[in-house]
Amino acid sequence: MWRLILKNLLRNKRRTLLTTASVAVSLFLLSALAIVYTALGKPFEGVDTVPIMMVRRAAGIVFSLPARYQDRLKAVPGVVAVSKLSWFGGYWRDPANQFSNFAVDAETVFDVQTGGVIHPDQLAAFKRERIAAVAGKRLVDRFHWKIGDRITLLGSPYGVTPELVLRGIFTGGPDDHFYFHWDYLNEAMGRLNIVGMYWIRVDPVEAAPRVAQTIDQMFRNTDAETKTESLSAFLLGFVSMLGNVRGIILLIGSAVTFAILLIVANTMAMSVRERFAEAAIMRTVGFRKSHILGIFVGESLVLTFAGAVVGVGGAKILFDGLALRQISQFVPADMRMRPETLLFFAALSLGMALAAVGWPAYRAARLQIAEALRHTG
């Protein structure tokens, strides 16, 4: 029976090849979309919406600010707490262990970041020791850390490898974050006295727009102009934008799926239609309806799965090879193909193969033999 299926697929080699190639290309695209889609879905769990504001270089997020701005920011009416915050970008032990790590002002970071709750003793320990670090609960669980663990951050673009000791664990807030002393980083980097950005806490919340204006005004025409924006709004805006992106991806994905379905369905419909008479002959010599159905379904399955193996397999090799770990500086995301995704594509291919061939195969199996034979010759 399998030989019959293969022989039939080879009957029109070009058509089989073109169809398989189309399926492969489409499924490759779909795989890429699926990877981005799932990656975008993950990073924002636990984002908190406390009114924190972020002061960064107006020129862009990659530029730094002078460390001496801290006192001036603190002096702005409405600002109740300020912390330096330098994105560090290290990993723990293995490049696969990516997470958000920042060099912060240990004295003030939890005055700003009130969403994260930490035991006062642990906070005190963090402040006391230059090499101390604290991490969010989720991150700690992920790496099975415990207090007292020595943690060395590798691979940072700053080219330094801080050797730290975990002194505290906070819950709530951005609980996948990791904080260590900005002073320590600054020293290790030879006292450049620069900061990625500042986080400020504003009270009352309504003062936020005025505070932002005051700060940006204050530094206008310096060589490090600032841009102050609400961190939560920033993240929320980003999240909702990503939400739109996911929606669009879903839309494109559906369109691509539909296109593949049409391609396979068209090929199978042609192939089946050409062979109504053959199906009748086979029935005449003793094949049952289920045999005929099986042969056509088998052809569709082979066609679709051959394309799927090439397309999805290619995407898996490519993306796993690239091993992209983040979408942007603040949005870590694992851009590898997950087992669920592979499973999804297996199911999708099966579904498409069946949907594509279902109707014509059913008709071919059901046809009146006498009728079909009459229309040949």
Binding site: M282, T284, V285, G286, F287, K289, S290, I369, L373, G377
Partner: protein, 228 residues
């Protein structure tokens, strides 16, 4: 000791097409004994194919009695009929109706794929059948690499490879030149004479009729009396 292979009484077939209906067969009575070679003749549209199809269970009568090899074919389910045909009936069509992607060998083997035979046993049967039709040197040819006459002989080999009791041929020489037609008729005659196959052949070629043991005429769906 001859047993009855086909027994038909009062058989009619009416094709219903939208508003009007065509009576393709009307009140047919026919008996065929084992070992006979029946030649069905008649003008185009007289119902020959329809009768053949009904006997083989690929079409159903509207009314009447029909027993083939002791079975009430009209009442059998389609899947049982398929198996029954596989074992008992061989079919040869006017258009040779081979599967184009299969070689001569594979085309002949097709009905055997449904049996429990081992591939060795299948090979034995296939080669014997192809030898019987004189094509043992063409087994790996594809249908398009064969002449019309050769194709029809492959079709005959396919029809007899399961060693059926009853062989049906619907205008088997209709698309063939005189020489090829003669070859095909010779094979059918040999199958009837030497292998005791019961054969029903439809044709409107008077020369073909010479090979038959009985000839019956159909006209406008009615079977004319013997000798008419």
């Amino acid at each position: 000791m001859a047993e009855t292979v086909v027994q038909i009484q009062g058989l009619s077939k009416i094709f219903q097409r939208d508003s009007f209906s065509v009576a393709a067969l009307e009140d047919i009575d026919l008996t065929l004994e084992s070992g006979e070679f029946l030649c069905l003749m008649g003008p185009s549209g007289s119902g020959k194919t329809t009768l053949l199809n009904i006997i083989a269970g690929i079409d159903r009568p509207t009314k009447g009695q029909l027993r083939v090899l002791g079975e009430d074919v009209a009442q059998m389910s389609e899947d049982r009929l398929a198996t029954w045909r596989n074992v008992h009936v061989g079919f040869v069509f006017q258009t040779f109706n081979l599967i184009p992607v299969l070689t001569a060998y594979e085309n002949v083997e097709l009905p055997l794929l449904l049996t429990k035979l081992s591939s060795g046993a299948r090979q034995e049967h296939v080669l014997a059948a192809l030898k019987l039709v004189g094509l043992e040197d063409r087994i790996h040819h594809y249908p398009r690499q064969l002449s019309g006459g050769q194709e029809q002989r492959v079709a005959i080999a396919r029809a007899i490879v399961t060693d059926p009791t009853l062989l049906m041929a619907d205008e088997p020489t209709g698309d063939l030149d005189a020489h090829s037609a003669e070859e095909v008729l010779d094979i059918l005659t040999r199958l009837n004479r030497d292998f005791k196959k019961t054969i029903i052949m439809v044709t409107h070629d008077p020369r073909a009729a010479r090979h038959a043991t009985v000839t019956r005429q159909l006209e406008k769906g009615q079977l004319l009396p013997l000798g008419a």
